[in-house]
Amino acid sequence: MINFQYAKANDVADAVRQIAADPAAKFIAGGTNLIDLMKEDVERPTRLIDISRLPLGKVEETADGGLRIGALVPNSDLAYHPLLASAILAGASQQLRNMASTGGNLLQRTRCHYFYDVATPCNKRDPGSGCSAINGLNRMHAILGTSDDCIATHPSDMCVALAALEAKVRVTGPAGDRIIAFADFHRLPGNTPQYDTNLRHDEIVTAVELPTRGFATNYTYIKIRDRLSYAFALVSVAATLELEGKSIKEVRLALGGVAHKPWRDQTVEAELRGQTASRTVFARAADMLLRDAKGFAHNGFKIELARRCVIRALTQAALGTPQSQSSKKIR
């Protein structure tokens, strides 16, 4: 870790002022990803601006009946919503969930082992240096939306649920507030993989807003990983349905562990709407969702794994039998 200066932000406006004044500064809240990356010398901010005491720690109901989750609400306190709670409990450990903030979960780096290994080239860490993963050990890497410059995945579980729920991200910058749709918050790597999100350097996330539509009955979060707990996803799926009898009125499907951002394909969801919930229909949707998937030397298995996972998740959601995150049996 390099030496750095430390300053506290007094309020949101002060935080924005401080970050805008220093291109080498970073915000710190929970620190669970940033401190780790600083210890590895991957992140090298020369100033940390402590936002952990800003008044952004509340969960409130919005005027239209949705929820506004303050950016500093710890992950462990977010058991307010069925799908969201399930995804959160599938991620990290209780210690990390106690520390990690809502805003920080969105802003943890999209990453891979080569990004962490400063002895190897990595376009995300050192733009233009090359990607070590494309011809390297890429078992954990992306199969959708990859580029020739980066095949890293976004490791969040919470964000996969937020993508399915069509959350909105409220941010403040020097020009005032703006709201970013969840689908537009994270980005694909393209030829600028050093940018994980569309948040600007001088902006701060103040809240994540959940719409009223809760999908409290027909939902699930399935996460497949190399060990049963405390490991990043090989593939994860958040699925929600609204059914009229067996007919699919509304559906959301988001995948983790497969792309540079939580992966959602609205053409597949549109195809499912109005159809009768059945294994055949779910299998067709899974095939469609993975039509452009591309495997590398060690992660080709993820395509079939994701396909089966999508079918299983839609089946669990249709039956109203969400995956248990403590008993690991997948039914």
């Binding site: 030496n3 750095f4 430390y6 010398d41 210690q95 080239p121 403590s326």
Partner: protein, 172 residues
Amino acid sequence: MARTSRTARPMAEIIPGPDKIPVELIVNDVRKRLTLAPWTTLLDALRDHLDLTGTKKGCDHGQCGACTVLVDGRRVNSCLILAVMKDGARITTIEGLATNGAVHPLQQAFIDHDAFQCGYCTPGQICSAVGLLAEGKARTADEIRELMSGNICRCGAYPNIVAAIQQAMGES
């Protein structure tokens, strides 16, 4: 082939300033005033500045749980926390669990069930289990296992750790 990366990144570039920062921590009910560089982790502050070496440094990356302590009653990885960010907080370490010379029920349960071999992960396991009992979310063995998954035991004492926590749960 891509060009080689900046392999030899200078590990301790000198950034001008800042002076060390005063921090007050209430550690095991005792007020401690420290003056720390901002990059000092809570773990290093406990071990190197307060001589409380019960809290262990395992991976130093939040992956093993050996450094688990309670901050304001919640279990956290002290290796990923900057001490200056916890000014005024109440910290409980393994050294603070006994009361009036009597070990904490979880410490006794770990002894009763032989819930360790080398013992290196044990302070973190016990502090984590104290947090788990306070949260009140775990009831079954499956739930204990899942909610203790942030604490790795390479000796593999897991079955005995679960049994020890179940014993303490029954007493609490």
